[in-house]
């Protein structure tokens, strides 16, 4: 069972997915703690264990890899989905006009990055990262064919401090029946900027960061990676394309290779420079129907989990960052990676 409830004080929809959960009393002593993988445990994401996962949605076949590894990347439904395609999409109220809910209609998929249980994304060869990005794009575009889904949120959680529970490297996507409010806010700000200036805010930001240069970490023919001027957390890193596409779904096949290259380079620098930090990665893109608009530039945001947001941040929404991005960028530029 899964549903959405509207928070009338913030205009957020909140996803309720009690099937993912313990019963209330099982939260006793449940503060997030590092969990150690039990040595004898069978990994459902490893080759040979495909029967332990829900039925496969998509795979990139493995050319020339030894059996039983006959896939490079594999996509499966999340066994504990936040949203499900079987749920209704309609809504109603619960006794009061301000208690509004909708069915938890959506999709929640797991993208197994590679057959390797112990090889992090930063350590994968560029071709493997490219295959992963192509898979993410395929799933993004395929799910948007379902008119019920407004937004496809693609993300990765690396490390327990970033919220992952299974060690075998994987990404996830959630298709939502609404555009989440934070994204609505960001899109609205970008639309206003476009209406005011005729320019895409993110293209201007990228150009100004490249001109200032002090927060740029690495650049290639098609992408730039920098730590934004107003980074919310230490070592927050963005990867922006140099040419304009609003949607990640529209990136040309030929541009996925240089994307894989710069992503590997950034992740390697973060890993070597910060001792394999926990991080979250998200792909920022436009909702259904805005693919051809000029106001937004799709991009990747990487948020290392080096500090803990506390009461001030949660209560005010305002971030406290303890390192200037130009200092963090200079540090990362000096980290040598192969």
């Amino acid at each position: 069972m899964s549903l959405l409830r509207f928070d009338s004080t913030t205009n957020d929809w909140v996803i309720f997915a009690p099937s993912r959960a313990r019963r209330p009393d099982e939260f006793r002593g449940a503060c997030p703690k590092p969990t150690v993988e039990s040595p004898g445990k069978v990994c459902p994401f490893c080759p040979g264990n495909e029967h332990l996962t829900p039925p496969e949605i998509f795979r990139v076949p493995a050319w020339g890899l030894p059996k039983p590894t006959d896939w490079r990347v594999r996509v499966i439904p999340n066994r504990f989905p936040a949203l499900r395609i079987e749920e209704p999409i309609d809504g109603s109220t619960d006794g009061s006009p301000i208690f509004r809910h909708r069915g938890g209609c959506g999709a929640h998929e797991v993208i197994i990055e590679s057959p390797d249980h112990d090889v992090f994304l930063a350590q994968q060869p560029v071709e493997q990262i490219e295959a992963l990005l192509r898979t993410m794009q395929e799933r993004h575009n395929d799910l948007l064919r379902d008119p019920r889904f407004q937004m496809i949120v693609l993300f990765k959680n690396h490390g327990e401090g970033a919220g992952t529970s299974l060690r075998h490297p994987h990404c996830q996507l959630i298709a939502t029946p609404v555009v989440p409010r934070l994204l609505r806010t960001k899109l609205g700000i970008a639309v206003d900027y476009y209406d005011m200036t005729g320019h895409c805010l993110y293209c201007v930001l990228r150009n100004d960061e490249l001109e200032a240069s002090q927060r740029v970490v690495v650049q290639n023919s098609d992408y730039a990676a920098f730590l934004p001027y107003a980074s919310h957390v230490p070592f927050e890193t963005w990867i922006l394309p140099l040419s304009h596409h609003a949607s990640f779904g529209d990136v040309e096949r030929s541009k996925l290779r240089p994307l894989a290259e710069i992503l590997k380079s950034v992740l390697q620098k973060l890993s070597a420079g910060l001792d394999n930090p926990d991080y979250n990665l998200t792909i920022n893109t436009v909702p259904r129907g805005d693919e051809d608009k000029n106001y937004f530039l799709w991009h990747i945001e990487i948020l290392p989990r080096l500090t803990t947001p506390a009461g001030f941040e949660l209560g005010s929404g305002m971030s406290i960052n303890t390192v200037l991005p130009e200092e963090a960028a200079a540090y990362l530029r000096n980290v040598d990676v192969a």
Copy 2:
């Protein structure tokens, strides 16, 4: 050194406080980890060590307590402030119109809850909690006398998972020279609701929660505690007054005692029911100048840190809650506390 930078993509101000930090290379291996208090370490918040803190701002004297404990509650400047009264308030741009900054003018204070190093807030006698709340109100009102400060954010971090670094129980406040965007958003939504209906959204919410009754945990003559319909995290608990004040600063002295009573009761239930969970507590109130407005109701929000927000939550701003508040509320109602 402390400054604010404007995030042109979200309209957030971000606080940069590099003096709180390590140098960039000191973030290596810095993922938040439980830190164990070293046994021989001297606590600067304990009685007898007052000389180890910056000069005291305020104290509630201790009547009848033995020396050297001659205070009940003590307020001091934060030794590693996010914002400082010495910083400039004016701003400028850094090369580009979208790179805007301001001085980090504000205040950051620590409120030592009691002389007891090992007694959590939930375990304190009601009189002590009342003295703490009175102190928070005093500091709120005193800081608002400085016209540079727009908002006083009062909060508490309990436990390492909630971002605290010193074990001796304490609250904090940060006075900001801007109204943080999240609060601006919430205030704007409440203003719109007031304009549309003539009612305070939070009073309606409280009345509707009391009528539905299934999410109410505890209630007394002056306050109600409930888990809101669209709780963002498991066991999120709000305490709302039954009579209308927009500002926490305007709560009558006689209403602080029942507030201390219901707060103790809620914290005891959370502690006993969930095995002393980490949590953040924030006091939600209006910014400077809106104290007499009818659109907002000050209140307390308690956010237990039982789950880790991951890439989906950070990327979309949308929460996934794995327990329905009515089930969590039923569980808490059944937790017996003295």
